[in-house]
Amino acid sequence: MWRIPDERDERDDAWRTARPFPHVVIDDFVDPAALDELMTILDDEPVERYEADLYAFDATAPEPTTAAFRAMRAAFLAALAGPLARITGKVCTRVDLRAYAYRVGDYLLPHADHQDGLDRQLAYAYYLPSPEPPTGGELELYACRADAAGALVEIASAAIIAPRANRLVVFDVSTISLHQVCEVTAGLRLSLSGWFYP
């Protein structure tokens, strides 16, 4: 189902040279013939509303409720672990996988994903086909400078990645990997997202 090269290619270099922090964009990540199967697996997964000062979106539960979704998570890790180790230099043995739906007005404001004790080492988002492709919903990455205590003291927008269907984005998680999901102003933004762990 997942299409990621087993051998070194230009994306290995892209990770290292990406700004403002290491990330890689892989288009046409899922074999088009397998997209229907993927969407069918998601059809039965319930979502709940999540709202806080930082975000507003619908998402599935942290743990998939169906065997098919859990199997897809396992297959995703199995397919990605090797290539990601080569591209990022990080060995991943566990992954979260949840489906997210950003409706009109939904957003995820700037944050860094890093939390002490959680061991998140890579974050990812895979954009699903949408019945109404979104306006907005871009992944915006920020360039940051931190002071000696680790507080961010300079922040500037540095990259914007469109939520194009069948696109996978993987990015490094650190104290300065600041990013946001811009507000969806029209349409529906569907994605699979989570973190890879050692």
């Binding site: 000062d53 507003a56 009109v104 007005g105 404001l109 922040i155 946001q180 507000e183 102003t185």
Partner: protein, 182 residues
């Protein structure tokens, strides 16, 4: 049932509608529009315009509203204006935490209501009071060591020239009437 949380958390939270006449709000907006303004842009905490207010005397007429709501003698200790436009917000972890129990008085000077632009007061992270964007209103909320607030994200679906304008006054009890805790 009264809980310990009720006793040590914010005990006063109310919104008084239609306190400020539109003409008075317009005059205040005009005054603050020409005041030195700083843009806060550390976006992991907030994105908004801030106007420090040094002359507190013009707002003395608002103190009785807080006095009536709290039954305390209060004085204005500090003031500032926040302006939020589409895309702006102020997150709870950026808010100031107070050791004592001052009263926060928020005067809504906005021209017109903006849907979804609220202040959420939180006790230990949980929202206990929502202040809508209601021009002319005054919100009166007791702060405390476990109370923070966030100014919600203003949607970019609104016209780019709309703005939420909030005059925020911090009122302290005079020494003779400082409230005890527990």
């Amino acid at each position: 049932m009264t809980t310990i949380g009720d006793l040590v958390g914010a005990r006063i939270a109310t919104v008084l509608p239609d306190v400020i006449e539109p003409a008075d709000a317009a005059a205040l907006r005009a005054r603050f529009a020409t005041s030195p303004t700083s843009r806060y842009a550390l976006v992991d905490r907030g994105a908004y315009d801030a106007v420090p207010v040094h002359d507190l005397a013009p707002f003395a007429d608002l103190v009785p509203f807080a006095r009536d709501a709290t039954e305390r003698d209060l004085v204005i200790a500090e003031a500032r204006v926040l302006r939020l436009r589409p895309g702006d917000y102020l997150l709870a972890h950026h808010d100031r935490v107070y050791e004592g129990f001052p009263i926060e008085l928020v005067v809504d000077l906005s021209v017109a209501p903006i849907a979804g632009a609220e202040i959420h007061y939180r006790r230990r992270g949980q929202v206990f009071f929502r202040v809508p964007n209601a021009p002319g209103s005054v919100a009166i909320v007791e702060r405390g060591p476990t109370v923070t607030c966030n100014h919600t994200y203003v949607s970019k679906r609104h016209p780019p020239d709309v703005e939420v304008v909030r005059l925020i006054l911090l009122l302290q009890a005079t020494s003779a009437t400082k409230s005890s805790t527990v």
